[in-house]
Amino acid sequence: MSKPEFVYVTYIETTPEKLWQALTEGDFTEQYWFAHRATSDWNVGSSYHFTLEGEKRLEGKVLISDPPRKLAYTWNGCSEEVRRERTSRVTFDLEPRGKAVKLTMTHDNLDEAGVTFRGIADGWPMVLASLKSFLETGRPLSDDVRTIQAVAA
């Protein structure tokens, strides 16, 4: 039986370059990715991490970096609950479609018994909806989305 994966497709009115920047630069991720700040040079083999208020929450290694088309990295959550889970993988494919970009996010190699697997079906739509709003309106989704996160946890 193949390991479970979660795939999410969204279309955003932006350019591949702006979308790539939003996915990889801490000044941007901090605004829509629930205050998580990304840090990396995003070269293949380099490490990356996301911090929240200075504390590391997510880390891994860059597997594929082909700006502005494809980005992939390993995913290791840092919290107590998820640290022992299998390292999973996230891949972003960015494809121009008219004035929009089709963004496909694939999260695979997941531990199906784990907390991560259960959480991402709620988490990714929130992050990617906030990213879309941020790029299209200049504002991420309102803080109300954090309340949903707290309720869902």
Partner: protein, 153 residues
Amino acid sequence: MSKPEFIYVTYIETTPEKLWHALTDGDFTQRYWFGARLRSDWKAGSSFEMVRSDGTVSDAGKVVEVDPPRRLAYTFINQSDKYKNEFPALATFVLEPYGKLVKLTLTHEGFAEGSKFYSGISKGWPAILSSLKSILETGQPLDIPFEALKMEA
């Protein structure tokens, strides 16, 4: 192998009433649903159609559940010969308000294994729902050429 089911969640800065209107008013759907006017009196048991700009019907089915502005469900199948051996599948929209946001969950289910129509809707829904989010948040739908969805592939 289990029957395929398509689930899509997004978060939109809007009200449940505006979102309900966007999902059920033909003049409005025409602006973001790749030109389709959704036509129905929206009573359980009534017919449901998607009408092209030339007046022909592309998809048809029945309204199953109407609970504004919380739940809307209808069945439909594309009228093309390609799908003549398939049956209408059930699309259910659940609208949940969270402060300034509405969480929209679309579940499309009841497809037979190997359904070609399932493959088509899996490509269509992310584009339609992305365009819906854009029009509600920015006033403009997405400008994606229909061919770019590669639904024939």
